[in-house]
């Protein structure tokens, strides 16, 4: 189940939406008390050794269908990796990397000065930068998205600027951050802010523009106050779009932080990768790649869970 959902999470929004609707249907069935309690009684066969055997086999079969393919994929990658490592003198194989990982993760939170800290600290400081940059981007971007979506004038005023700035790599903004903040740490947070803000503005604005006319007509007939319109109609109907924006920006932010930290130094997973390259500890770089991937996956999955909570069926 978890493997399947994670795999789907990687396939992007379409698969995610499908999964969400699936989950909703499941919730439906669960909420329908009578159906939920009766169904298992009706389908489970009478107790007995003969009747039980096929259900175990079935269970095993579905387990194999879900778990086996990813395992085979993983096995192939590890095998290929081992093969490449055997032919190369300086590329560490899976066994050597695993060994290094065990050493590394047995003490993730040591601290020997600013340039030698445990991998746990490195991940946490990267996450902190992402959280701050991303949080400020949400505070600025979401209201801005509402304004752009609600007022056509603001849309035509800001759309060209956003279109111009959006394709720029956030790293191009790093020197500006260094100049303004005169320190490396806020400068990398600044790049995160820049790369996170665009998806949030654009998705929120799109959500506001796509509020169904029916709901707005209801608001007009009821003569709701602007405050009520925002809290009861706009906000809930924009929320799924907003969460998509948040999900996209956190994905980009996690991509960008590694590069930004390579340039700025300090404590962080990006800098750690670069530092280990300078130490020629390639197995640590491989570990970092896995760790970055897993953290990114967890962030994405967490936001999917939140998004599912706030998605409503079109009725």
């Amino acid at each position: 189940m978890t493997t399947a959902t994670l795999a789907q999470a990687l396939e992007g929004p379409a698969a995610a939406a499908e999964m969400e609707s699936g989950a909703r249907n499941a919730a439906h069935v669960a909420r329908d008390g009578a159906a939920a309690t009766e169904a298992p009684v009706a389908t489970s066969p009478a107790p007995g050794p003969v009747a039980n055997r096929p259900s175990i086999g079935e269970y095993f079969g579905s387990f194999m269908r879900v778990v086996l393919p990813p395992l085979i994929g993983l096995g192939l990658v590890v095998g290929l990796w081992a093969l490449v490592a055997m032919k190369s003198s300086d590329f560490p194989g899976p066994a050597k990397t695993l060994e290094a990982a065990i050493v590394l993760f047995s003490d993730p939170f040591y601290s020997n000065g600013p340039n030698d800290q445990g991998i746990g600290w490195n991940i946490l400081s990267s996450l902190k930068r992402v959280a701050v940059g991303f949080g400020v981007a949400a505070l600025v971007g979401i209201p801005l998205g509402f304004i752009i979506g609600r007022f056509a004038f603001m849309n035509s005023m800001l759309a060209p600027i956003i279109s111009l700035l959006r394709p720029v790599s956030p790293l191009a903004w790093l020197p500006i951050g260094l100049m303004v903040f005169k320190a490396a740490d806020p400068a990398s947070t600044w790049t995160i802010f820049i790369c996170s803000i665009w998806p949030m503005i654009l998705n929120t604005a799109q959500g506001v523009q796509r509020v169904p006319q029916d709901y707005l007509n209801v608001a007009r007939v009821l003569n709701l106050s602007e405050f009520r319109i925002i809290t009861k109609i706009l906000f809930p109907s924009v929320l799924p779009y907003m969460l998509t924006g948040i999900r996209l920006s956190i994905g980009t932010a996690w991509l960008v932080i590694v590069a930004a930290e390579m340039l700025t130094g300090g404590v962080g997973i990006g800098f750690w990768v670069w530092d280990e390259w300078n130490n020629l500890k390639v197995e640590h770089i491989l570990i970092a790649i896995f760790v970055i991937g897993i953290v990114g996956l967890l962030l994405e999955y967490l936001l999917l869970l939140i998004a599912r909570r706030f998605s409503y069926g079109v009725n």
């Binding site: 209801v218 007009r220 009821l222 009861k232 409503y312 009725n315």
Partner: protein
Amino acid sequence: MNAIVKVENVGMSFETKKGRFIALQDVNLQIRSGEVVSLIGHSGCGKSTLLNLIAGLTLPTSGVMLCNGREIAGPGPERAVVFQNHSLLPWLTCFENVHLAVERVFGAKEGRDALKARTAKALEMVHMEHAAHKLPQEISGGMKQRIGIARAFAMEPKILLMDEPFGALDALTRAALQDELIGVMEKTGATVVMVTHDVDEAVLLSDRVVMMTNGPAATIGEILAVDLPKPRDRLKLAHDARFAECRAAILEFLYQKQMKKAA
């Protein structure tokens, strides 16, 4: 004659890529207090446009629309609308959907308990008190439309506007809801304007049936007074000669005088 709504020489046109499209022209109509009026016509004849004009959701390009002697300048809670697709907010429970309207209309005058009682009463009236705390997505289409009707009635509007309220429902559910509506209208003495394309529904529910000519530049063709005693019972009416006459008159208008060219 105390007309609640007066429609005088109203015309409505839209600017399109191909130029001006005249939807309605020279529409004159008066709706009396307590009266149930159906608007019927072929699709595209502008009956929904006329309803939206009375609701104030759109404003006419010519002519005058009055409600209670005042010009209709926009939508307002004294002209409640039941939308064809019910338009319940999916993130609010049925109770909250109705309560949103109740709060808006009576919130300034009444306490919290009185407002809740009003909402509960409205749900009771359409026999939906059991689903008060369900979300719209958890109930059937017919039930959603009941909640939509409850929301509109709970506002105690001067006039209730319904845009094909049962158009999206199957025949059996529709009949059940029509009976429900007859009961509610009987209890409240509401003034109702309803858009429909169902001849039986028009005769069963209304005091007058307004038949519209085909667009473009549609207008009111004929008005039929349905002088059948109320409350009406669909089973008894099935064999009633006057009911059949009314039905025939509408059918004749729609399929002889306003025969639509094959689309």
